[in-house]
């Protein structure tokens, strides 16, 4: 499998990367020396999990906390409103 899709990782400690263009499901994307295989279609500009994350664990981007996993997230999953919520105001759920 050759990874052709580009992904941006803002900080080495981040658990998520940003897909530069839309990536279809079950597609390998290169991450550093390794490869993550997408579990769903990831729209352009959206996030993909680089590691497995347990529900309740903090999620980082730019090396900073951007919220908490609201469900178990597996490596390669789309990370968005359905499984990530703000730790501050303006969260998506109560």
């Amino acid at each position: 499998m050759t990874a052709v899709h580009r992904i941006l990782i803002m900080n080495g400690a981040d658990e998520v990367g940003v897909c530069v263009e839309e990536v279809p499901a079950e597609t390998p994307v290169s991450v550093g020396d390794g490869v993550v295989v997408t579990r769903q279609r990831i729209p352009a500009g959206h996030k993909v999990a680089l590691v497995d994350l347990a529900a309740g664990s903090p999620v980082h981007k730019y090396g900073q906390p951007i919220g908490f996993a609201t469900a178990d997230i597996r490596r390669g999953e789309h990370v968005h409103l359905h499984n990530l919520d703000s730790g501050r105001v303006g969260g998506n759920r109560h």
């Binding site: 996030k47 951007i66 968005h80 730790g87 303006g90």
Partner: protein, 384 residues
């Protein structure tokens, strides 16, 4: 030897990058008169109010209108007032005249019709513009520039491309002893710890944490209404999930300089460097606040292609992605999309933004000026 631009020197020592004849109604009730002046005298900068009047005329509105009309890009002001007891125009005219601004005050009650008010204002505008024509640009130091930063219609690329590139441009400006203004306090929620850690004193750090906390408390007090509104549905469609994620991307446009000051809405920075202005996130209210704060230019990054621009501060548009830059080529001045694809870097695009700022400061028109985009709004909300 620092960088220079060609500007207009004002009596108070500030420098303008334009020499505008501003036609400013003090109430949205007079918008139509301002529109009629624009038809008669297209070279005049005729403002209309975007918001309905935010309550009875207040000291805040007087301050904002006075600071906006005395932006250093303005060389001559024509105020349109109602002429009744609540009219802010006479007090505003007095304040501007005392500050050395060339100002005329006209009123609807005195002219007795909107059409005659517009005719009188058009006559004054022609005379004002003739007077401005004789003034010439002179070399000015880049340190005289106060540049506002704004992001509107953000997407997930904003924090990866255009905002970090703008941050680099603001670092270059601060290195010249100029001022960079970061605003939109709601969009600092989740990034305030990084800015506070860079504050030039514990007092400045405390000021920043206080204004962010005030907005956060207001958001909490508003309860469910605000939930799901930040990030906006448009931001969410673009891939932004939480306010922290949006803020971390938004704060990148301020660059990496120490935070030197926190100022109130529409207030002028008192020292060079990176300054936070406490403003609402609404784009037009924010633009107005930054222009009132003396910003001669604004750099506005956009993912979705927001065409909004200030009437008095030339607004440079930077697209976060190539698709928007190509689709909205009439409105976008620079494309930062190549940073995401690895074709260019934030330093390269940031340097291009900085050079564009100097060129626009010396007279090059931005797309929004060519199109005649002129958005203005008094603020509806203000904590503290």
């Amino acid at each position: 030897m620092g960088r220079e631009f060609e500007g207009f020197r004002r009596s108070d020592g500030r420098w303008g990058v334009r020499n505008l004849c501003l036609v400013l109604p003090t109430s949205e009730l007079l918008n139509r008169a301002s529109e009629l002046v624009e038809l008669e005298v297209p070279e005049a900068t005729c403002v209309t109010h975007f918001n309905a009047s935010p309550g009875p005329p207040s000291e805040l509105h007087l301050d904002v209108l006075a600071n906006f009309a005395s932006n250093p890009n303005v060389g001559h002001v024509i105020l349109l007032g109602m002429g009744d007891d609540l009219d802010l125009a006479p007090a505003l005219g007095d304040r501007l005249a005392a500050a050395g601004v060339a100002v005329e005050t006209l009123s609807l009650l005195r002219e007795r019709s909107m059409l005659r008010l517009a005719e009188a204002a058009a006559r004054s505008a022609r005379i004002g513009i003739d007077g401005l024509r004789v003034q010439r640009r002179q070399p000015a130091p880049a340190s005289a520039l106060i540049v506002g930063t704004e992001c509107g219609g953000s997407d997930a690329y904003s924090g990866l491309t255009a905002n970090p590139a703008l941050g680099h441009a603001m670092d270059l400006l601060v290195a010249e002893r100029g001022s960079a203004v970061l605003a939109e306090t709601t969009e600092l929620i989740g990034a305030e710890h990084l800015l506070a850690a860079r504050a030039s004193s514990p007092e400045v750090a405390a000021d920043l944490l206080r204004v962010v906390e005030e907005w956060e408390r207001m958001v909490i007090d508003m309860g469910e209404d605000i939930r799901g509104a930040q990030p906006t549905p448009g931001n969410q469609a673009g891939g932004l999930t939480t306010i922290e994620e949006k803020s971390l991307g938004a704060a990148a446009k301020g660059g990496s300089s120490p935070l030197t000051e926190v100022v109130g809405y529409g207030c002028r920075p008192s020292r060079p460097g990176l300054v936070v202005m406490d403003t609402p996130g609404q784009d037009v209210e924010q633009l107005t606040g930054m222009a009132a704060g003396g910003c001669q230019l604004i750099v506005f990054t956009t993912g979705r292609g927001t065409p909004t621009a200030s009437p008095v501060a030339p607004t440079i548009k930077v697209a976060t992605n190539r698709r928007t830059a190509e689709r909205l080529a009439d409105h976008i001045d620079l494309d930062a999309g190549g940073i995401a694809t690895g074709e260019t870097t934030k330093e390269e695009v940031g340097t291009r933004i900085f050079e564009t700022i100097l060129a626009v400061a010396s007279g090059r028109q931005v797309k929004a000026e060519v199109f005649g985009q002129k958005d203005f709004a008094l603020p509806r909300t203000r904590p503290s």
